[in-house]
Amino acid sequence: MKNLFAIRDLHVFYGPIHAIKGISLEIKEEGELVSLIGANGAGKTTIMHCISGLLRPRQGQIVYNGLDLLKVKPEDILATGLAQVPEGRRIFTRLSVEDNLEMGAYTRTKKSEVKRDIREILERFPRLSERRNQPAGTLSGGEQQMLAIARALMSRPKLLLMDEPSMGLAPLLVKEVFDLIQELRSEGTTILLVEQNARMALSIADRAYVLETGRIVHEGIASEMLEDERIREAYLGT
């Protein structure tokens, strides 16, 4: 069977620096939650930028639904069904919460459907609903993360890329974000979760890849990796 999503032998250079040294990664089927874990500077966000077309790799392939993503312009990636919750949230601080959601649905043309989705999303995120007319820059970190996720959902993605959604959040909020990820997954959204928080990521993922300085050093079933001595020592600190 063909994979839903695959990265093959990806190489990225920043000038003379060989940042990504031939990584391969797959999402085998719809509804799968795959996690890419690694420390700061391992190259996680670099890979995400390649997927969203913001960065061109020197070599390799990124295929989604049989489509060569490296040939798609960055602004057309979203229309293929692939949305991103970017690192650092990248919410639009000067726009209101509601306008941020509207921008998430920018490529959709049916106004009435978009309006209905905004209503539904706001029901799902009551705290965003309370602040719907506030500039998004005035939200707290946790609320901004929720907004970034909600905004990505507005395009009705088939594959959701999440780049460090737990970054900079208090433990309670991290749990909230991970609960939400599980909820989305149970609704059938395929998710690629990039995380530094290995324990949390492994506890909810189906499969996982461990990235270390531009190379995949481990891969496997997430629950087995949680039990693996070497991984526990190196990434979970136990």
Binding site: I77, Y106, T107
Partner: protein
């Protein structure tokens, strides 16, 4: 007191024109971080368009202005396509030098085509009725200019806060990469921004040449520079900043000219620059700008 009110209105009038031109600078800077030094020349070419439509085609002023807006929009969009687009990822200095080149090119082109001799614009403020409000007598054109400019600015503000494409423009200006992630067609938004900026410059030209009815290939340079200063004064990249900066600059300039002895009247131009330097020393990001460190 009447003298003060009169000068105040005059200041608002020229300030409104600076504000319209400043909006073009600030919006373009906001989205592609380019100081479009050819923006003043859009104003100049618009003035020529209006002049020729009126004198050669015998069109009424209003119709000539509408046509000039259309032509200026086309010119502005073409300049971006031909000169700036391929430099989008080049160093800012290369783009800046290109903008200066486009500015000089248009000035020279018009000087060759239409000679550098000034042409008198057929319609002047004196052809509009004089208003007498209490002890103040002023041309109705002064009020028309202010009202038209304010209406245009309100429309622009509604567009960027209510319309999807207007919001997308704010998104591109805040976070280009984020805009790509939303599927926003950035090139189209950039073209749209040049189109709006050029339309505003053409409207500014239409208002300007009635009060200063002399058309030359270099007429865009000084108002262009002042509008640029206005944009920086208010906080470059910020639409409300350009409006505030424009009005403020017009007021300062008119007031200094009105209240300093005429023997040193030339100083008023200099005072504008002194104010700019002071503001930038105290608030480097402009009056409405927040000092932010640049994000990677």
């Amino acid at each position: 007191m009447t003298y003060f009110i009169l000068q105040f209105l005059n200041g608002l009038q020229i300030g409104a024109i600076y504000a319209l031109v400043a909006l073009g600078y600030t919006m373009v800077y906001g989205i592609i971080k380019l100081i479009n030094f050819a923006h003043g020349e859009i104003m100049m070419t618009a003035a020529y368009f209006i002049y020729f439509f009126m004198t050669l085609l015998d069109l009424p002023y209003f119709l000539a202005v509408i046509l000039a807006i259309v032509f200026s929009v086309v010119l502005g969009v073409l300049i971006e396509r031909i000169a700036y687009r391929r430099l989008r990822n080049a160093s800012r200095l290369s783009a800046l030098i290109t903008a200066i080149a486009v500015s000089l090119f248009l000035q020279t082109l018009y000087a060759i085509l239409f000679t550098p001799d000034p042409r008198a614009f057929p319609l002047t403020a004196s052809s509009f009725p004089v208003l007498e409000i209490g002890e103040i007598t002023l041309s109705s054109w002064t009020l028309i200019t202010i009202v038209v400019a304010v209406i245009v600015m309100i429309l622009l503000q509604l567009f960027v806060t209510r319309h999807k494409a207007g919001k997308a423009m704010l998104v591109v200006s805040e976070d280009l990469k984020g805009a790509y992630l939303m599927g926003i067609k950035v090139d189209r938004i950039v073209s749209m921004t040049f189109a709006i900026g050029s339309a505003l410059a053409a409207i500014a030209a239409a208002l300007y040449i009635v009060s200063y009815p002399q058309i030359t290939p270099y007429m865009g340079a000084l108002p262009g520079i002042k509008a640029f200063i206005a944009a920086v004064l208010g906080g470059i990249g910020l639409i409300p900043g350009a409006m505030l900066g424009g009005f403020l600059l017009g007021l300062v300039e008119t007031m200094t000219r009105a209240y300093i002895p005429s023997s040193v009247a030339q100083l008023s131009e200099g005072i504008v620059f002194v104010i700019l330097i002071l503001v930038l020393l105290l608030k480097p990001a402009g009056l409405l700008g927040k000092s932010e460190r640049e994000k990677v």
